[in-house]
Amino acid sequence: MKQRSTFVLSGLMTLLAIVFSAPASLAQQPIKVGIVTLLSGPAAGPFGVPARNAAELTAEMLNAGTVPAPYTQKGFGGTPIELVVIDEAGGPQKQVAEFRNLVPRVDIVIGYISSGDCLAIAPVAEELKKLTVLFDCGTPRIFEDASYKYVFRTGPTGTMDNVSVALYLLERNPNVKSFAGINQNYAWGQDSWADFENAMKTLKPGIEVKTSQMPKLFAGQFGAEITALLGSGADVVHSSMWGGDLEGLVLQGAPRGLFEKHKVILSAGEPAINRLGTRIPDGTILGARGPFGPFAPDTELSKWLKSGYQDRYQVPPNYASFKMAQAILGVKAAYEKAKGAGNDAPDQEKIIAALENLTFEGPGGTVKMALGKGHQAIMDNAVGTTKSEGGQLRMVDIVRYPADRVNPPEGMKSEAWIKSGLKK
């Protein structure tokens, strides 16, 4: 009898041990993900904070296991994730120092909106051997001028933005004879204008450039520039402006007839929809730097992000939010692929191998890590035209361009590809 009770007791103890040790083994160390995004300065409102919000929403819902398929597993492969959010403000030099401080504290870094920061961080990530996923910056130079093992970019480059709007414009207005531009005078504005100018000249040889206005970044006031554009006689005006500059251009240009006299293209105009609404005149051609926001495909994942974000922050997610969610989901996909069926957490090398050339689903659709030796994403793109309906600004006449139509093939630089005729 005694023997039996001892047996029962020990059995009970074992069961209890299993029951109580199970949470102990599940409550393993969370995977720490460093999130670097602009939390102060002029880019915080349009990009930085919407990206941070999307990161927090995504992390929380991943940990709760409420993200739709194929991301139903909790956290990364069952292990919860914990975000360490830092501010990207202050310029590349400061960011390199911040990055060096961040690296020992986290397992993976996801971040960077400014191309200048991305160009500065990439070699340091390589030096420190830390998996770093760039989520938003647009310059194609990162993987065209160098090759990295530890650096990835899950968002498409800026090249496809301007190639897509040029294709869209010429499909609808084949008779345009001239164009002009107003872009911010720094890398982003200059590169965007160069890509658009080259794409237009390739697609319609002989087309005339009337003027290229390059106001100072954050100038905010464009009275003289708008006069120059109005007086230029150009059929089309291209702008890759963002944030307060873009809003200022619309507020100052619309009452002066800039949008009536010219076909205006805002290649990165999507975040302004939430800010300006119907103040953006009808008929403006708008891009979202990928199939994001109003251009997102009608999938469970895009519905999940749109409704989850809207419920929590009372505004729709913009392209920066989409790209942040996409980056986190991309890393999750790679982590789980690397982990496979095993129980052990994969090491960084395995995650890197899994992320190279990976194809995964994001809220904006399929993402292929097809360029830069499998480190740079390409995606389909979409362009549309604005139209006010019932007091709301909607995108109509939306056209989708397959990823290989608007991105260079692997191994070819964007500029050379555009100039050589945008061949597939």
């Binding site: 102060s40 290229s212 206005q213 106001p215 905010g220 009452p255 002066r256 800010r275």
Partner: protein
């Protein structure tokens, strides 16, 4: 030739704005020898306060024309409250220190105010386009212009003339000029220098806020707008000669016209044009166009 009229108008409109934002800076420097970097934050505060006040006014369906009064009210409120707090709470303890120390102190204030603005108004841009569209537009050289630009030019003219009149034709103005010339002597003859300093700082702060409040309807009011302004205002003030009101007016006009012409004829050089003017003026006159002659003190 047809383009000359629009170029001149754009130049004058931009110059009016530049003058509005630099008049306060040069006044404060002229009297107090403080290169007030926080001028940019006062400009930003003016713009944000204008958005809040005029926005609330318009949201309550009150007559739209009254929003202009709200812009003025916002500037006066910011100037009086923030100006007094800054001068009485901080700067009055720092007088007599090296000019560089004061630049650093006001720079610190500038950085703190950037975050204060972020805490109060958030990081999203504020828009107040109604007053800009309200007065309609007119045509010049075949191109449409907003009447609001004329209003800004008028405001700059009135502000400049009023300042000149107060300085040269009133008792208070003469006392101020006396303080500029010799602080100790003014105290000796019974001028309350501390009060003159406070009044000057409040007027300077109000001018900064006025610039911000009347710019708000034309732009998206975003974090960091003060940074752009302080750099430009500093360039204008240096061109005109630190502390000279007439210099600020001429500097603003020069920069406005050169910038406008550059935008039309050589847009790539726009960024460079303002500093080119500054460099050329400083090579010819190292203290600016109208720097006050300084008596050497032993």
């Amino acid at each position: 030739m047809n383009a000359l009229l629009p170029i001149a108008f754009d130049g004058v409109a931009y110059a009016s704005w530049l003058f509005l934002v630099s008049a306060g800076l040069t006044l404060i420097y002229g009297v107090m020898r403080i290169l007030n970097v926080a001028h940019g934050s006062l400009y930003a505060l003016g713009a944000y306060a204008a958005c809040s006040l005029a926005g609330a006014w318009l949201a309550n369906q009150l007559p739209a024309a009254g929003s202009f009064a709200m812009l003025l009210l916002a500037s006066v409120l910011v100037g009086c409250i923030a100006g007094t707090l800054l001068e009485r709470g901080l700067l009055q303890w720092m007088y007599g220190r090296d000019e560089v120390v004061l630049v650093l102190i006001t720079y610190a204030v500038f950085l703190i105010m950037e975050d204060v603005i972020k805490v109060i108004w958030g990081v999203d841009s504020l828009l107040l386009p109604e007053p800009y569209a309200l007065p309609g537009s007119f045509s010049l050289g075949g191109l449409p212009y907003p009447v609001y630009n004329l209003l800004l030019i008028g405001l700059a003219l009135v502000t400049g003339l009023a300042l000149a009149w107060v300085l040269n034709r009133t008792r208070q103005g003469k006392m101020l000029l006396a303080v500029i010339h010799d602080r100790e002597m003014s105290m000796a003859v019974g001028i309350n220098v501390s009060r003159v300093y406070l009044a000057t700082f409040v007027v300077g702060a109000t001018l900064a806020a006025l610039g911000g409040a009347f710019t708000a309807p034309t732009v998206a009011v975003t974090p960091g707008i003060g940074v752009e302004v302080i750099v430009l205002a500093f360039a204008v003030v240096v061109i005109g000669g630190l502390g000279s009101l007439g210099g600020a007016a001429l500097g603003a006009l020069l920069v406005g016209l050169v910038r406008s012409a550059t935008v039309h004829y050589w847009p790539e050089a726009e960024l460079f044009s303002i500093y080119a003017v500054m460099a050329i003026v400083l090579i010819a006159r190292p203290k600016g166009l109208f720097a006050a002659q300084e008596a050497r003190k032993i």
